[in-house]
């Protein structure tokens, strides 16, 4: 635990596997997004496979938003999540848990338009894109396991504060 910072987990036994799993998922997301970014900048188009529509998704007008390739934004985002998850391996500081929660929530929100674009507008799915979306949702859901002790600790703190005030 980082000295001087409040713990999100208090004295509860830490779920060591949670930050490890989050780091692994975020790293996997980073690798896939980095691959798509490199393919984009090197000008490579994926071959057209019999059972997937990667080339349709990768070459669509939606693959670049405001001049930034979606793949690059994904790589930066998963990279950030990875570093936050690495931070969570050593510390359960409240700010770190909250920052991770906010980031993963934003990521999960971004999944909605990205999935709908593939399903409704492009009518084609890219397995790499779907993989990053599943990873993002898994990170968001798993993030709740970090959040649960924080809420109960906060309630306990409030209860203690009310009890102290009543005793005075």
């Amino acid at each position: 635990m980082v000295r001087g910072s409040r713990s999100a987990g208090g004295d509860r036994p830490a779920r060591r596997w949670v930050p490890w799993t989050l780091a692994a998922l975020a790293y996997a997301g980073f690798v896939v997004s980095a691959y798509l970014t490199i393919v984009h900048y090197r000008g490579y188009v994926s071959p057209c496979y019999v059972v997937q529509g990667c080339e349709t998704v990768q070459t669509s007008e939606y693959s670049v938003v405001l001049g930034v390739p979606v793949a690059l934004a994904g790589a930066v985002f998963f990279g950030l999540l990875f570093y936050f998850a690495v931070g969570l391996l050593r510390s359960s500081a409240l700010w770190l848990v909250r920052a991770f929660k906010v980031l993963s929530f934003l990521g999960a929100l971004a999944v909605i338009p990205l999935f709908l674009l593939q399903a409704i507008v492009l009518k084609a799915f890219c397995s790499y894109c779907l993989a990053t979306e599943v990873l993002m949702l898994a990170i968001w859901v798993l993030g709740f396991l970090l959040a649960a002790p924080e809420r109960s600790d906060a309630r306990a703190e409030r209860r203690a504060a009310r009890g102290g005030a009543a005793a005075e």
Binding site: F30, V31, I38, P47, C48, E55, T56
Partner: protein, 226 residues
């Protein structure tokens, strides 16, 4: 400083160093993993994939360009609506000019089900072939892929290409819509599928399937086999 004091200071210094290493190690490890991933991906996405492949032998009805007894044969399974095939078409035009007297370029159809107009485009190209204009139509279809692939009905666009190539439009329609044309295309795709083609473009150069990622890699693959 007394001896025991010096030992305590040394221990504290060692403890401080250990704590520093413990603090820094995860971040350093994470950064190494990130850099390593980017470096490996950069190296491997640039590599041309090669494996041995037994394509159906070249037959008289195959659409081809180049000598009948070539030094090397290149067979391409292609889909007119595939963006990567369009990229390849530009490279192949240059390679046909450069190696056209030594290399035979064979075009085979492999229209993918996901591509709405791929079969129609293949029919138009085959109809052009029957009027001796296959490669001209092939180049037009790939150069203007964005134009017809996103349209609600590409047939009038194909007609305009046929007109620009000076083709007989009535004959073009009849050939494009003929069952024998559809059968020819489907037969090529079926044989390709049975041989193991899983994506387009699928290139077979001298008995090996190769997926060059640039014109330079393409040229190198030819030079190595000539």
């Amino acid at each position: 400083m007394s001896g025991s004091g010096a030992q305590r200071a040394a221990r504290a210094s060692a403890d401080g160093g250990g704590a520093f290493v413990a603090r820094v190690a995860p971040w350093a490890g994470a950064t190494v993993l990130v850099v390593m991933a980017v470096a490996l991906l950069y190296i491997f996405t640039g590599a041309a994939e090669t494996e041995s492949f037994a394509a159906p032998p070249v037959a008289s009805e195959d659409i081809s360009h180049g000598p009948t007894e070539p030094e090397l044969t290149i067979i391409e399974y292609s889909d007119f609506q595939c963006p990567f095939c369009a990229e390849y078409a530009g490279w192949l035009t240059q390679l046909r000019e450069k190696y056209g007297e030594r290399v035979r370029f064979v075009f085979r159809n492999y229209p993918l089900a996901d591509h709405q107009w791929a079969l129609f485009a293949a029919q138009a190209a085959y109809a052009a072939h029957l009027q001796g204009k296959f490669w001209e139509m092939h180049d037009l279809l790939f150069e203007r892929q964005d134009e017809w692939a996103s349209s609600s009905d590409p047939r009038p666009i194909f007609d305009s290409y046929a007109e620009s190539l000076g083709m007989d439009i009535e004959q073009f329609h009849a050939d494009a819509d003929a069952q024998s044309t559809v059968d020819f295309i489907n037969q090529q795709a079926l044989e390709g599928k049975e041989a193991g083609v899983t994506h387009t473009p699928w290139l077979v150069i001298g008995g090996e399937s190769v997926l060059p990622r640039s014109l330079e890699q393409f040229e190198k693959a030819i030079e190595e086999r000539l």
